[in-house]
């Protein structure tokens, strides 16, 4: 790797791989920007149709209740109300959504509207459609619903307790899925250890990325063809269709998803199928386009939180020199009222079983339960973040208990660069990385050598300084075969993404993607890849924005999720472009009368190598095939319209041993932070921050940097104030941005960023997916608070009141048994 020179004042360290000529690796201007900075983006709510009806959902005010009756008569009397939909209709017209789990979770019945009972506050119970938004809202108040409240469960452990109210009678249990993961030999490791550190309880709090644009759709039903078109922001339409089509009792081709611009998603727009099905039914029933806009309170209350997870009875065998041999834990995951994408979260953490560490003996007893809270969705960092928080808490708590240096203990336990590719105890392969180097850079950026000086300075101002590290991995490009480790009956494995590239009659290059971008710059990065292969510039490449099922450039697992675009999306683009390039060379060879090997593509031409006079501009190629092709041999297959499906190299995992490679790439995030706590109030500030990222080859460095900044901000929010807290009746106490405080511009600490590029040996471009981050900011802040207070931090979110409680309570819940 070459080292880039850095001027001392710039706290930016970049170590890039060798610069190859081309657009990949450069900061080309983003194609998306022009329309977005002019307010000309098309987000779903910008789309209008003549005669459209606006939907307002009547939502449950109870966390848990039977529905005794629903009466829409008064709502229907209001002028301008077009119609309604209730759960009774839904239960007749649709089948329950496909459940991924084994019994008992398999028996859960999930419909577009509540059927028979409600299981979380905000659950849609009925829908009213009217000629204006306000009217729909007014009419919704006239829908009379009679409820019989039931006791609510708002805690994962309580869901498992003897005699706990059961949410889903069909399942007969609040357990969605449970299983034991056991790799290596944990008991032997315990016997061998010099110390066993036991941590009673850790809890990863409930929060989400709360994308600024809420969910929504405008659905049109074509009565002649029976097809629905949904202008929407569903970020994983492949899977959305798999849920919706059987429920609606139609073929997949009857569902057309169209997206253009999406105002952030972060995993929150994956489980929109219930509301979308309600809108589809209404569009068909009422014979008009149906528009649904989710409002902020709806999103917080009833659409998609991140997984909440309790870790109990953690045991960590440690040698005296600080080498950890593994850990054992009992995990309880609270997925809210309906599983939906769950129980995949019960296995996805296993992509990073030992975190960044060389731990070989790991035992996880994992149970997922339903509670009367908002259902979860694969929120940014999905399931890995929760698990990586556990591994980081383990490292810091063990270090504290045994009087070891958290930096040294990490370096001692980190997987080393030389060991890459590294196979974890459960068969995942970490492709590349240099964690120790990243940590060193982070320490340098934050001025670790001046830590004690800063501590004294803080003390002089009456503050307690704390320092913390968070090291995580962003595992990307899923092998869906991991689902079979939860449910052997499931027929999912591998992954796929599709792209098409064509050369049109006037020489235009047009790309369509199967992905669903929400700000990650897919149009731009796709154009970079195409430009390098075809020998033109990104400006010559027209990438259609968004996703449209009609383009037929998608597959079953298409979407934008799981940190994989740089691998799957761009892999598909690369494959399609190489196909197109081969056809262009073939066509040129036929026209110019030479061998294909003599043709090169450069400067937007196909020409004979060494003879630039013999050249066909792209426009000529496109025109010949599309309009002027007499005389060309008919037995040569050329269409100048290439479609390619990228499939990552995965095998089916071993279901017995729960063993196999679950993700293709592993990006590294090593963060460090400094906090200052006001010991009188418990208030604190993050005063300095360093983030080092390694995602292999950076296709567009600015885009990578932007993702790092954004993921860090979200993690800092989750560490400080962002928590979805409930009262005992299942009411969400933080339903809006007043009480659920996200970082604003003045809340951000100074950010010092560093990058290295450890290319992935497994991917088409050496790039790794990135963007989710692993929640490193959360881990770093917890560690820093622990350092400042000299207390064990056991919750992921630490608002001021929690810090204050921590300060005045005795530190307990951790014991050490030593030989």
């Amino acid at each position: 790797m070459t080292e880039t020179t850095v001027t001392p004042e710039r706290p930016l360290v970049v170590e890039e791989t060798e610069t190859k000529p081309g657009f990949v690796g450069q900061n080309v201007p983003r194609k998306e920007d022009r329309r977005l900075v002019q307010g000309q983006g098309v987000f779903f709510d910008d789309v209008k149709r003549h005669g459209m009806g606006y939907v307002h959902f009547v939502r449950s005010p109870y966390g848990h209740a039977k529905i005794r009756s629903i009466d829409v008569a008064r709502a229907l009397e209001v002028g301008g109300v077009y119609g309604t939909l209730t759960g009774d209709e839904v239960a007749i017209l649709t089948d329950p959504f496909f459940e991924l789990s084994t019994p008992p979770g398999a028996h859960i019945k999930d419909y577009a509207l509540a059927v028979g009972k409600v299981r979380h506050v905000g659950e849609p119970v009925a829908a009213v459609v009217a000629s204006s938004r306000e009217l729909a809202r007014d009419a919704a108040e006239l829908v009379e619903v009679e409820y019989e409240p039931l006791p609510a469960i708002v805690d994962g452990e309580a869901a498992l307790a003897e005699g706990a109210p059961i949410l889903h009678e069909d399942a007969g249990s609040n357990v969605v899925w449970s299983g034991l993961f056991d790799w290596g030999d944990f008991e032997a490791a315990k016997a061998e250890a010099d110390h066993v550190v036991r941590i009673e309880r850790l809890h990863f709090d409930r929060f989400s990325s709360t994308p600024l644009e809420c969910a929504g759709c405008l659905v049109e039903y074509n009565r002649g063809t029976g097809q629905w078109t949904m202008y929407c922001n569903h970020q994983m339409p492949g899977v959305g269709a798999i849920w919706m089509a059987p429920a609606l009792r139609v073929g997949i081709d009857k569902l057309r998803f169209v997206t253009q611009d999406i105002g952030g998603a972060f995993g929150n727009k994956i489980c929109l199928h219930p509301q979308f099905v309600a809108c589809c039914l209404l569009a068909r029933k009422l014979g008009r386009p149906i528009q649904w806009t989710e409002w902020r309170t709806d999103q917080h209350t009833a659409n998609a939180h991140g997984n909440e997870r309790t870790f109990l009875d953690v045991e960590v065998p440690v040698r005296s020199d600080g080498t950890m041999l593994g850990f054992s834990v009992r995990a309880i995951d609270d997925c809210g009222a309906f599983p939906r994408y769950e129980p995949l979260g019960c296995i996805i953490w296993a992509q990073v079983t030992p975190g960044c560490y060389r731990w070989r003996n790991i035992r996880v007893d994992f149970t997922q339960v339903v509670t009367n809270k908002s259902p979860v969705s694969p929120n940014r960092g999905y399931s890995r973040m929760q698990h990586l928080w556990l591994t980081e808490r383990i490292v810091d708590i063990v270090a504290r208990e045994l009087g070891l240096d958290p930096v040294e203990v990490r370096k001692r336990n980190y997987v080393q660069r030389e060991e890459m590719p590294y196979t974890t105890p459960n068969g995942c392969v970490y492709d590349s990385g240099d964690y120790a180097r990243c940590l060193d850079i982070a320490l340098e950026l934050i001025g670790y050598d001046r830590l004690e000086e800063r501590r004294r300075d803080a003390e002089a101002r009456g503050k307690l300084l704390g320092f913390g590290i968070g090291s995580t991995l962003d595992s990307g490009t899923n092998n869906f075969g991991q689902s079979t480790l939860l449910n052997p009956e499931l027929q999912f494995s591998g992954n796929n993404e599709v792209a098409t590239v064509k050369l049109d009659i006037f020489g235009e290059i047009v790309v369509t993607l199967g992905t669903v971008p929400q700000g990650q710059g897919h149009e731009t990065t796709a154009a970079q890849v195409v430009a390098d292969i075809l020998g033109c510039t990104p400006d010559d490449v027209n990438v259609r924005p968004g996703h449209d099922s009609y383009w037929n450039s998608h597959a079953g697992l298409s979407g934008t999720y799981a940190s994989q675009f740089a691998v799957t999306g761009l892999g598909a683009v690369k494959g399609a472009t190489e196909k197109l390039a081969a056809e262009m060379r073939k066509l040129a060879s036929l026209v110019l009368g030479c061998s294909e090997d003599d043709i090169e593509l450069a400067e937007s031409q196909a020409r004979i190598k060494g003879n630039p006079e013999a050249a066909l501009p792209f426009m000529a190629l496109g025109a010949i095939l599309n309009a002027n092709n007499a005389g060309l041999p008919t037995d040569v297959d050329i269409s100048l319209n290439a479609r390619y499906m990228y499939r990552p190299p995965f095998d089916l995992p071993d279901k017995e041993r729960k063993y196999g490679n679950l993700t293709l790439t592993y990006a590294t995030q090593i963060h460090a932070c400094l906090v200052e706590v006001d010991p009188e109030t418990g208030g604190y500030e993050i005063v300095d921050y360093a983030a080092v990222d390694d995602c292999g080859k950076r296709i567009h460095p600015q885009i990578v940097e932007g993702q790092v900044h954004g993921a860090t901000a979200q993690a800092l929010g989750a560490a400080t104030h962002e928590i979805f807290a409930y009262d005992e009746d299942g009411n969400l106490l933080t339903p809006n941005f007043y009480d659920y405080h996200v970082p604003h511009a003045l809340d951000m600490p100074p950010m010092r960023n560093g990058y290295i590029e450890s290319e992935s040996p497994f991917t088409p471009l050496g790039a790794k997916g990135m963007g989710e981050g692993g929640g490193a900011g959360i881990h770093a802040v917890c560690a820093a608070l622990s350092d400042a207070l000299g207390k064990t931090v056991t919750r992921s979110c630490n608002p001021y009141h929690r810090v204050w409680e921590l300060m005045r309570s005795e530190d307990r819940g951790v014991t050490v048994e030593s030989r």
């Binding site: 002019q38 307010g39 600024l212 809420c214």
Partner: protein
Amino acid sequence: MTPESSRTITVDVNGVSYERDVEARKLLIHFLRDDLDLTGSHVGCDTGNCGACSVLVDGVLLKSCMLLAVQADGASIRTVEGLGSDGELDALQQAFSDHHALQCGYCTPGMLVSATWLLERNPRPSEEEIRRAIQGNICRCTGYVNIVRAIQAASGQEVSE
């Protein structure tokens, strides 16, 4: 002086005059987006916190979700659609693109309006002043890092690291 449940209002938006009948209860943001088809300003919350709806009303930076359309009768409004001219980006818009100050673009119109308001009053703001000016604009994508840099660049100042 009789209270009315709807009114005819006249507003100037980005130099164009509009006369419309509007319900008293309609928020200005919905009037702009739904009645005038100016969908550049966005809705990101329902409690006036996020600033995605920010516009200039008679030169004053406001959240258009916190104003009734009828209150804007006779006012001169500037939205993101009124920045730049003839399809040419202004310095701020160009700086936002150059410095990757937008990812999904949803908060961007509000950010640009707030930044425009700032630079028109304070042509060379400090970093703290920039952050104060956009404190009422939530972004979930960028962490604000590049937004601050873009505004510094647009004001002809050195960009912080």
